[in-house]
Amino acid sequence: MEKFNTLTSVAAPLPLINVDTDMIIPARFLKTIKRTGLGADLFSTLRFNQDGTEREEFVLNKPAFRNSEILIAGKNFGCGSSREHAPWALLDFGIKCVIAPSFADIFYNNSSKNGILLIKLPQEQIDKLTEDAELGANATMTINLEAQEITGPDGDIIKFEVDSFKKHCLMNGLDDIGLTMAKSDKIAAFEARQNIIVA
């Protein structure tokens, strides 16, 4: 997993509530056995017409936002399925940070395990950042994870909260499994004393 420290990019506004995982990556694209290559189909239904041509009005098809690494969205982003293909698709497209009023639980976990930073902010601050983002190519934002700050295009600073363990893992690009395997003695001890499961 790549380390996350600071990120400076144009932010793409997607002011929709309840953006679900089928919107992020429809099920028909889940037949891959790899983690990569899903970016081409990110937001497939929103991005493309049925004949495969791009829908000009969709934010990530507009010239100013094609290389956005930050997405600003409505509440309950990532609701629905547990498919990790959703964060894989975002990451493969180049999105490294999503800012929204709230996220669905499983999506939240899946994203942090892939080095994507999810930032929760109150709706008023989202509205302000959305307005900023709509300014387009000249309006970059900087996210500093260590300081837990977003610096807007006008220099305004917004502080954000982040789970301390997730922050530690993101900043150091840590693999959970390696950390847990170091506790295998504790797991074995638990297995030895656990006799509830009598199958």
Partner: protein
């Protein structure tokens, strides 16, 4: 000090292996269901690091999302689907995991198979790389969906790093009337609390109306907990739970069974336990439900009308409603029963068990599918299919003009060949009405099995009371 705990607290506390300073816990996982879509990258991860599956004996695999529901003797036409299913077979062989292959009668949707085999047990923690894993909470098992990184974590360590959910309780009081099913109850609950209402929560379901449900009904309720935003949905185990599990292939036997039941009886919320949030409803408020939009919270009673976005004061919500109506091709104020359908789908981990199939068959018997409607029944497992065939239900469906299929996820998420075309509209017993869920441009109305069967007969959404 109040030491009273909820059922969820008890399940959580009995599985904590280690607690970090920040409160994150390492939690032991007793049961792991694996399917073909969310596992290949996890097995590859193990291979790359030279790791094994820690407890293959606690792991069970079955292909369900991608499998064809037509003739199984032929090779799978879709190359990508075939590769994914072959990858699961290879991974299970390489890592020593038990697999129900496509030709095994026990094959089916993992959330149907787990309980059916007695793999799902009260008091356990159970995970699967699928958000509908909450289904198993019907047995008093702390069950939840996980992503592929977490699948790999469980395979390697038999644990997960978790933060505890808040406690939420949904009580539905009253006597369940005829014609109101588990599906109507959970859709009404989602309509009330919203698709994000349960975010961060474990929901315990209680109250006379909910407790009166059969195990299969309870599974339907817990299955859709995630559509209310909650990863975990729970019922306290009771005599119905024990009766369902007794004698199942993987259930405990003999003295172990007796000991297990004694323990399972302790798995309930203490009377004085306090929940972070309580929702109380009365079953008399609830009519048969149907969705009109593209989120499971977009529900109305079948005798209601498509809602009017102009009456919505929240701008974000109004925008979403307008978008949904445009996608669904509906106009505000239209009676729900005027909505014509092209397809009726009876299946999915929500509603593909034998009671669901019986309920649909009882509506269909002696009737015919309306002209121009494609109707299909996809049983939840090979064993459900076998029971239905022993009861002659397959013939009732076939004579009415339904297609009688092999077990799998099928049109619930349109990964295999079963899908809606652009603009096609379905009455579906599945769990999600998201844009494109049942095929690009497809339109979904979520309903109970009896309502889907009735819609197939009439060619439009219909109130069961109006079925002549």
């Amino acid at each position: 000090m109040n030491n009273a705990t909820t059922l969820y607290d008890k399940l959580w506390n009995s599985h904590v292996v280690d607690e970090q300073e920040d409160g994150t816990c390492l939690v032991y996982i007793d049961r792991h269901l694996v399917h073909e879509v969310t596992s290949p990258q996890a097995f590859d991860g193990l291979r790359n690091e030279g790791r094994n599956v820690r407890r293959p004996d606690l792991t069970l695999a079955v292909a369900d999302h991608n499998v064809p529901t037509t003739d199984r003797d032929k090779q799978i036409d879709d190359e990508e689907s075939r590769i994914q299913i072959e990858a699961l077979e290879r991974n299970c062989t390489d890592f020593g995991v038990e697999l129900y292959s496509m030709k095994d009668i026990r094959q089916g949707i993992c959330h149907v198979v787990g309980p059916e085999q007695g793999f799902t047990l009260p008091g356990t923690t159970l995970v699967c790389g699928d958000s509908h894993t909450a289904t198993h909470g019907a047995f008093g098992s702390m069950s939840f969906g996980i992503g592929t990184s977490e699948v790999e974590h469980v395979l390697a360590t038999q644990t997960l790093l978790l933060t505890k959910c808040r406690n939420m309780r949904v009580t539905v009081n009253g006597t369940l009337p005829n014609g109101i099913t588990a599906k109507d109850l959970i859709l009404a609950i989602i309509g009330k609390i919203g698709t994000a209402g349960g975010t961060g929560a474990a929901i315990e379901f209680t109250g006379d109306a909910l407790k009166s449900l059969t195990m299969e009904g309870r599974m339907t309720v817990c299955n859709m907990t995630i559509e209310a935003g909650a990863r975990v949905g729970l019922f306290a185990p009771d005599e119905k739970t024990f009766e369902y599990l007794k004698g199942r292939p993987k259930s405990p036997k003999g003295a172990a069974w007796e000991a297990a039941v004694e323990y399972w009886k302790t798995l309930k919320t203490d009377e004085t336990a306090i929940f972070d949030e309580e929702i109380v409803m009365d079953v008399s408020e609830i009519k048969p439900q149907v969705t009109w939009g593209t989120s499971p919270e977009d529900v109305v009673a079948i005798d209601g009308c498509v809602p009017d976005p102009d009456r919505e004061t929240d701008i974000n919500r109004r925008n979403k409603m307008e978008r949904s109506l445009e996608y669904m091709g509906l106009t505000a104020g239209m009676p729900m029963t005027d909505i014509k359908i092209n397809t009726a789908f009876i299946g999915s981990c929500t509603n593909s068990r034998i009671e669901d199939i019986r309920a649909a068959a009882s509506v269909i018997e002696g009737r015919k599918v309306a002209h121009g409607v494609q109707a299909l029944v996809v049983p939840g497992s090979g064993l459900v299919k076998e029971i239905a065939e022993q009861e002659g239900l397959d013939q009732i469906f076939i004579e009415a003009g339904f297609e009688w299929r092999e077990a799998g996820c099928s049109m619930c998420l349109a990964m295999n060949a079963d899908k809606l075309g652009p603009g096609e509209r379905a009455a579906s017993t599945s769990n999600r009405n998201f844009e494109g869920r049942q095929g690009p441009g497809g339109r979904t109305h979520l309903v109970s099995p009896a309502m889907a069967a009735a819609a197939a007969v009439k060619g439009h959404l219909v109130d069961l009371n109006d079925l002549d």
